[in-house]
C-alpha cells in the first residue's frame, strides 16, 4: 500500500519523537541502574561505594513488598473497571441530545481539572472525615451507621478518589469516539428497529474497542504510579502502600541506592502488566 517514498517520509516523521524519548529514557535509566548497585546515602556521601545486589536483595525481601504489589494491582484493576464502565455509560448519556449539554459536559469533565493532591484533600477533609465530613452527615441524617472510611476501608477510599479523577478522562475519550460513529450507521440501526441493547453490543461497543484500549493503557501507566492520593490520605501503611510508595519510603530513609533498585523493580513489573494487557486487548491496536 505504502510507496517507498511514503515509507521514507514516515521514518523521518517518527524519528524526532523516538530520538528525544530515547534520550529521555536512557540517560536517567543508566544513572538509576548505576545508583542501584551502589550504597548511596544522600545525607552521608562518605559511604558511597559499590554494593552489588544488596539494594535489590533488600527491596525484594522487604516484608511490605508483596503487599505493595497486591495493592498496586488491586488499585489499577479496580479503577480501570470503574472508569471504563462508568465512562462508557456517561459517554453514551452525554452523546444524547439534551438541554444544557455544554454545561453538563463541562461538569462531567471537571474532576480532571483538579490536581490529585487537591482532590485527595477535598475528599478526605470535606467528605470522608468521620466527624464533620459530608458523608458522615448523610449517614447520620439517614440514621445509618457512620462509615469510617480511611480506617475501615482505606484502599477502597483511595480507589474511589482516584476513580473520580479518571472518570472524566475515560468519558471524554469515549465520547469523542462515539461521536465519530457514523450518523448513517446510527440512523440505519434505528430504522432497523434494533433493540438498544443489541445496538450497543453489536455496533457501539465494537466501535469503541480501540478507544477503550487506549483508555486502559494510558490509565494503567498513570495508575501504576499513583502517589499523591496515598500520601495525602493514609500516608501508606500495610493496606495502601503501593510500589512507588515503597520506593518513596526508601528514598525518605535517605537511601538513593535502594530507591533506585526499587524503581527498577517497579519498571520491570509495570512492563509485565503492560505486556499482559496488550495480550489481552492488544488486538485492537492492529489496523
Amino acid at each position: 500500500m505504502a510507496t517507498q517514498q511514503t515509507r521514507l517520509l514516515a521514518r523521518a516523521a517518527v524519528a524526532p519523537s523516538v530520538l528525544m524519548l530515547f534520550i529521555w529514557m536512557i540517560v536517567p535509566l543508566v544513572m538509576t541502574i548505576w545508583f542501584s548497585f551502589h550504597r548511596y546515602d544522600l545525607q552521608n556521601l562518605d559511604t558511597y561505594d559499590w554494593s552489588g545486589w544488596e539494594n535489590y536483595y533488600y527491596f525484594l525481601t522487604d516484608p511490605a513488598f508483596i503487599q505493595a504489589l497486591i495493592v498496586t494491582l488491586t488499585l489499577v484493576a479496580s479503577v480501570l473497571v470503574i472508569t471504563v464502565v462508568g465512562g462508557v455509560l456517561l459517554a453514551l448519556l452525554m452523546d444524547q441530545p439534551f438541554f444544557g449539554q455544554g454545561i453538563v459536559r463541562l461538569m462531567v469533565l471537571a474532576p480532571f481539572f483538579v490536581m490529585p493532591t487537591v482532590s485527595a484533600l477535598v475528599w478526605k477533609n470535606l467528605f470522608m472525615n468521620p466527624d464533620s465530613g459530608l458523608f458522615t452527615w448523610i449517614s447520620q441524617s439517614l440514621h445509618l451507621p457512620v462509615v469510617i472510611w480511611f480506617t475501615n476501608y482505606p484502599l477502597l477510599s483511595i480507589i474511589l478518589i482516584v476513580a473520580w479523577q479518571w472518570l472524566p478522562f475515560a468519558t471524554l475519550i469515549l465520547l469523542t469516539a462515539i461521536q465519530s460513529l457514523d450518523e448513517e450507521q446510527k440512523e440505519a440501526a434505528q430504522l432497523d428497529g434494533a433493540k438498544p441493547l443489541s445496538y450497543f453490543f453489536y455496533i457501539v461497543l465494537p466501535h469503541l474497542s480501540r478507544a477503550i484500549t487506549v483508555v486502559v493503557l494510558i490509565e494503567t501507566i498513570f495508575l501504576l504510579n499513583t502517589f499523591a492520593e496515598i500520601k495525602v490520605t493514609t500516608n501508606g501503611g500495610p493496606s495502601t502502600s503501593n510500589l512507588p510508595y515503597l520506593v518513596y519510603l526508601t528514598q525518605q530513609a535517605s537511601d538513593i541506592g535502594g530507591a533506585s533498585a526499587g524503581a527498577l523493580i517497579a519498571v520491570v513489573l509495570a512492563n509485565i502488566v503492560a505486556m499482559f494487557l496488550v495480550r489481552l486487548i492488544g488486538k485492537n491496536l492492529e489496523a
Binding site: 546515602d41 552521608n44 544488596e54 516484608p63 468521620p130 469510617i148 480506617t151 535517605s254 537511601d255
Partner: protein
Amino acid sequence: MKTAKTLLALAGALACSVASAWAADTLTIATVNNGDMVRMQKLTDDFTKANPDVTLNWVTLEENALREKVTTDIATKAGQFDVLTIGTYEVPIWAKKGWLVSLDKLGADYDVDDLLTPIRAGLSYEDKLYAAPFYGESSMVMYRKDLFAKAGLTMPESPTWDFVADAARKIADKATGTYGICLRGKAGWGENMAFITAMSNSFGARWFDEKWHPQFDQPEWKNTLSFYVKLLKDAGPPGASSNGFNENLTLFNSGKCGMWIDATVAASFVSDPKQSKVSDQVGFALAPNNGLGKNANWLWAWSLAIPKSSKHIEAAEKFIAWATGKHYIDLVASKEGWANVPPGTRKSLYANPEYQKAAPFAKLTLDSIMSADPTHPTVKPVPYVGVQFVAIPEFQGIGTTVGQQFSAALAGSTTVDAALASAQNSTTRTMTKAGYIK
C-alpha cells in the same frame, strides 16, 4: 600568559564585587504554612524598610515536601535557598555534616543567652548554634474543665497515665458524642510517632539500645502500644487511626473531646473563641507520666537556618536576626496583640507580665518545654539525640514505616504483637543496611 591570567582574575574579582555591591540581594526563603509563618510574611515590610536592598522570595510548602526538597537541594549543593525553615530533627544532623552556617554573627542585641535552654540545646551542635528558633513547642494535656467537674474529677498539674486513662473512660459518653480522649493516630514520623515516641519515653521504652539494636521486642514497648490502643478503643473517637493534629483540633474545638494531648501551640487555638466552641472551658496540665521520671512530652522548634551553599549569607543573617529577635516579638505584640507572638523561644517573653496575662497557658507551656531534654530523652541510656524522634537521617523512613504498623494496630487491621514484631523486623533491616548494626 601569566599576566593575562592575573588580569583576567582581577577583572573577574572586580566584576564580582561590583555585582554584589549593585545587585540587590534576593533571599529565597523556604517555609511552611503555619500561622506564625504567615504572620511573619505579612510583617516583612518592617524588615525590607530597614534593608531596602534585600528582596524576599517566599517558597511555602507542606512540611514533608519542604523537607524533601530542601534535603535534596542541600545534599547536591544546588544552592536554591538562602534561608531554611527546619526543625530540631534536621539541625543536629545537618550541622554535623557541615551543611549549615553557624549562627554566631546575629549581632549584639540578639541575646543568645535569652533562648530557652532545651530549645537552644536542640539547635546546637558542639555548643554552636546552627539555627535560630522561630517558635518552640512541647506537648501537654488540654482538657475540658466542665466535663471534669461533671464527672467529679480534678486534673492534677502533673497527671499519671492511669489517671488520664481512668478519666477518659469516665468522661466518654456515646449518647452525647463525647470522646474521653483524642490522640494522634495518623501514620507518619511527625504524626503518630511523635506522640507515641514521647509517650514511650514515659513508659521507660527507647528506640535503640546503646548498640543501635531496635527495642520493639522489649516489654516497655508492648506496654506503651497496648495501653495506647486500648485507651483509644475504649474512649477515643472513631477513625482515630487517621487523625492527626488538625483532625483532633477540629474535634476538640467542636466540643467532642474530653482531653487532648498534643502540641502546646494548640493551646492558643483551643482558647480562641473565634474558632473554639469550648474556649472558656479549657484547662491545661503537663503531659502524663508513669512515675519513671520522664513525662510524655516532646520538644520541637521551627527554626531558621542558612545553608552553606547560600550566596547571600550576610543578608540571610540579617533576616534571621530580625525574624527571631526580641524586636520581632514586640512588633507582633504591637500589631496583633500579645496572644499572637511566636511562643516558646525566649526566657524574657515568659517573664513578661503582659504576655502572661494574654496567654493563660504560658506557664504550662514553659514548664513543658523545660521538662524536655533532647540529650537525655529516655529512662535508659540511648545513643541518639531527640525526644520524639531519633536524630539520624534514616529516621524519617523508619519512623513512617513503624508509624504505619502502629496506625494499623490502632485501626484493628493488625494486632499489637504483630505490629511490634513487624516494626522490629523492618527497623532491624534498615539499620543493618545503613551500617549501624555491625
